[in-house]
Symmetry: C2
Subunit: 190 residues, 2 copies
Amino acid sequence: MKLLEERILKEGQVLPGDILKVDSFLNHQIDTELIDCLAEEFHRLFAQEGITKILTIEASGIALGYATAQKFANCPLVFAKKGQARNIGIDVYHALVHSYTRDEDLEIFVSKKYLHENDCILVIDDFLANGKALSALADIVHQAGARLAGCGVAIEKAYQPGGKLLRDQGIRVEALARISAMNEDTILFE
Amino acid sequence: MKLLEERILKEGQVLPGDILKVDSFLNHQIDTELIDCLAEEFHRLFAQEGITKILTIEASGIALGYATAQKFANCPLVFAKKGQARNIGIDVYHALVHSYTRDEDLEIFVSKKYLHENDCILVIDDFLANGKALSALADIVHQAGARLAGCGVAIEKAYQPGGKLLRDQGIRVEALARISAMNEDTILFE
């Protein structure tokens, strides 16, 4: 998606550790107009799927997930929580995610009340790199017995293994910007 | 706000430890139509203030903060992050928040790049109880030298000290549902 690629080229910063910093518009300060355009594109791509719920993970998936949920009729957003909050209850689906940003394993949870076997789920996140977060969310969809329509991500680091890993499992993955290589001076898209 | 009070009465659950569970529509599963109505009301209340940015805190403030930012022209959302993420950089405003839900002190951060002295900030969150999160966000606004237009929260536990604490400092606080008392059987509004 040209609009997103241009914004990444304009404001993205590549930091040591293979980090693409896009916190001026995507995951710290959030440009609502841009996010709304990304959500519109996810709606166009998945409009025929009968989506009943958007599933994402706290915290940086929430804005994009909310914006996407707004585009579908009668479609709430559900966000997976990290860690065992005292008030979430014990009746939850859970999975493990390794966070490369924080270098730690996190347990994530979704209450069983909010995902059902008759749901058709679109999983949304800001980034796809190693695919750990999306795999965990897909696992939770499967635990619920729901249908996984696919995954929509804003930015895929296509040179990392996550996208292939998910697609090889037959999961539809739509990335709005696919980075083929990046360093301090250049960001290249597929 | 009648719409929100009715939803709290219909779906809210009071749990031991003074917890009001509203995760079917506000902070785990999110009803985008309801959130959009709350955001519209915040816009109505603060429309004359010249708001340039919405500030909230991850994770459960993000959806409501995003929805509110959408209502104001050229108004990004900025969300404070918890903990020292590796890629946020060192040039940050920070403050301490005590989380009663998790019973721990958390450090929160906002990059100095995204709050400026010419900003007029509306702080948004889902809950106001002890006021620790809002006080920390207000502190960050003051560190930035920006103007704090006020705080908008979905639900205030008005029998807890946070609202008085903030209002006594001259901060405008708008709560869309103000709970005066609650137990397992009843939730009363002011």
